[in-house]
């Protein structure tokens, strides 16, 4: 079985978010994701990447893994920043909640677009969000 290698990308600008979308798309295509599955993981990634720029102190990193589980392959992305963190995670996940001028759809929407969603955040320390989407069906 091939060893999974973690890749990473720094996020500092909205051009980096575009680069990240293309990178995630390429990996999703590479492991045979359907077009809909590709689009879902890329869209979730775009939301979380932009959140780092807008709310997470303006810079951070994305890590990409291709884990396997019960002979299924998937894409796992981890978004990390050392920004202000999220005081009330429940509230932040609610559709429509925003502290910026957004629609407040990014976090909740990203959670709906993937199979697993984990979030760890501490005020003043930063935020780490890990999402996984398995190759369907």
């Amino acid at each position: 079985m091939p060893l999974s290698v973690t890749e990473s990308l720094a996020l500092r600008s909205s051009e980096d978010v575009v680069r990240m979308r293309q990178w995630v798309r390429a990996r999703a295509v590479g492991i045979g994701f359907s077009l809909v599955d590709q689009t879902k993981i890329v869209t979730a990634a775009s939301e979380l990447g932009r959140n780092i720029l807008e709310h997470g102190g303006g810079e951070g990193h994305v890590y990409l893994d291709l884990p396997t589980h019960n002979s299924k392959i998937g894409i796992q992305l981890t978004f990390e920043d050392k920004g202000p963190g999220i005081a009330d995670i429940e509230q932040a996940l609610k559709d429509g909640f925003t502290t910026g001028g957004g629609l407040g759809l990014g976090l909740g929407g990203a959670r709906r677009l993937v199979n697993q969603f984990e979030i760890a955040s501490r005020p003043g320390e930063g935020t780490r969000i890990t999402i996984t989407r398995w190759k369907g069906p």
Partner: protein
């Protein structure tokens, strides 16, 4: 500066988004469309997104603001050619694109623009009587 071209066709503006837009590019497009509506007195705006393989909340919000700003300037906006995978993803994301008219392709979009402008003109004539 990098820009998305806006074509003028008859009384309409036609925008074909062919690149994966970063956020500033999307903001520039929004401003450019508004300027062009004013400059050309266009009555309709058609945005072809058939080449976009992803629409996230930011791009969705931009489409919504173009639609509402053009409405204020008395122009109709229609978004055409959304890929099925993009539409499915948008629904799950929770973005409803309220206020944004959509059509399957450029031809249908053109029909929609023409008929809604004719309707507006008919109503306008009635009000003026």
């Amino acid at each position: 500066m990098e820009r998305i071209p806006i074509l003028k066709m008859g009384g309409f503006l036609l925008i074909t988004i062919q690149v994966d837009m970063h956020d500033r590019l999307a903001m520039t497009l929004q401003n450019d469309v508004t300027d062009m509506i004013v400059k050309t007195r266009a009555r309709g705006v058609m945005i072809d997104i058939s080449m976009l393989d992803m629409v996230d909340s930011f791009i969705g919000r931009m489409l919504g603001s173009i639609a509402s700003m053009s409405r204020i300037l008395d122009a109709e906006t229609v978004v055409v050619g959304m890929q099925p995978a993009v539409a499915i993803t948008l629904v799950e994301l929770g973005l409803s694109l309220t206020g944004v008219r959509t059509a399957l392709n450029v031809d249908k979009g053109m029909e929609l623009l023409r008929s809604s402008i004719e309707r507006k003109e008919a109503n306008g004539a009635f009000v003026r009587d």
